[in-house]
């Protein structure tokens, strides 16, 4: 996923405050785009949440988790696994009024974007 794709994706959703592109297997924050310049601790915390939530599995679910969304009174945290690179994921911090379905569709498209300018 390119920095431009990340930025353009977030720009489409004013309710999205921060997008973090991570490698959950390597434990690495790859790219970020946010309304503010967030400290590394926040990025690392979101990366760890993505790792924990997207790795939830059990006999009840015979397939891997593609996305996890936590919606609280004051915000939504959205975690999406890359369709083609299961170790990579997007972590998004959004306002609670975010429209989740179109947001997820756009996130899937964005995380699949490849660009020689990466």
């Amino acid at each position: 996923m390119t920095p431009r794709a990340l930025s353009e994706f977030r720009a489409r959703f004013p309710a999205c405050e921060l997008v973090v592109y991570v490698d959950i297997s390597a434990g690495t924050v790859l790219k970020t785009d946010g309304a503010l310049n967030y400290p590394q601790e926040i990025l690392d915390a979101l990366r760890d949440c993505a790792r924990d939530l997207l790795h939830v599995r059990s006999e009840f679910m015979d397939q891997a988790v593609e996305h996890a969304v936590l919606l609280g009174q004051n915000g939504a945290r959205i975690f999406l696994r890359a369709p083609d690179e299961p170790s990579e994921a997007l972590c998004c911090l959004c306002a609670p009024e975010i429209d989740v379905d179109p947001f997820l569709d756009a996130a899937r498209a964005a995380i699949s974007t490849t660009d020689a300018a990466t």
Partner: protein, 266 residues
Amino acid sequence: MSSIDRVRSALMRVAVDRSPKADGQPVLFDSAQTGVEMILVHVDSILMRRRMTLDFGSSTNIVCDVAGRRIMDIISLSDEALAATHASIIAKDGLGPDDAAGVAELLLALCADGDRVAFTRGRVTGKTNALRGGVSSKALRDSISPTETADPDAPVDRMEAWIETIAPHIQTALWVEEEEWQVIAGDDDSAAVLQTWAEDFLDRFLAPDFPLAETLETDGILTFGLTGEATGHLAVVGRLGQFVVASVEGGSAAQTLMAWRALSTA
């Protein structure tokens, strides 16, 4: 704390978890009831045992231990007159559910004498995080506004309303409250499998080192959408320590989320 550090810590708590934090800054209230509600909002956000100091200005402060959204113990009260009036509560070595009315009276009295309160929190050393006993925030709210809970026309609980909304799509659902598990949809076999999954899940994601635990336990919904051709998803709703865990077939995870959000804003 420098201004940069203050902004940094504010950003941290906004991004990691948006529950109210005690920062020592006074907040104003215009009635005793409003003041107590502000206190209870903070109590609601404390899961692990913490020592909370409430400073009402004019050298009046009260120190209490809070855990699991309950006031467990009152450690000290600087106002001697109030301490004498409420000696039966202050002197107790650990509060219990029967103390709700007494604690509510004390908090109302503290707020009646002031117009602001500042919160600070510290760790409690040498004690376990046992969640038995204490006075819950719900019991305190009921003590302060008993007529609200007696209203026969009051809307049904939000969790029940949410279940009714998505009922056509629910395969299996469990209601969890204080380690009591109740099957509310589905057969026994699927309920047993879901309970096994949910026990592991709640142990892991309500642990204090998981940054989203407070949101999930206090007022939040978490959904898991699956890869591939799967048409089902899982949802966990938390509301003041009660949980519903459901496997849902049909409809998207986003629709399940939106059903909860619509009830939150209704």
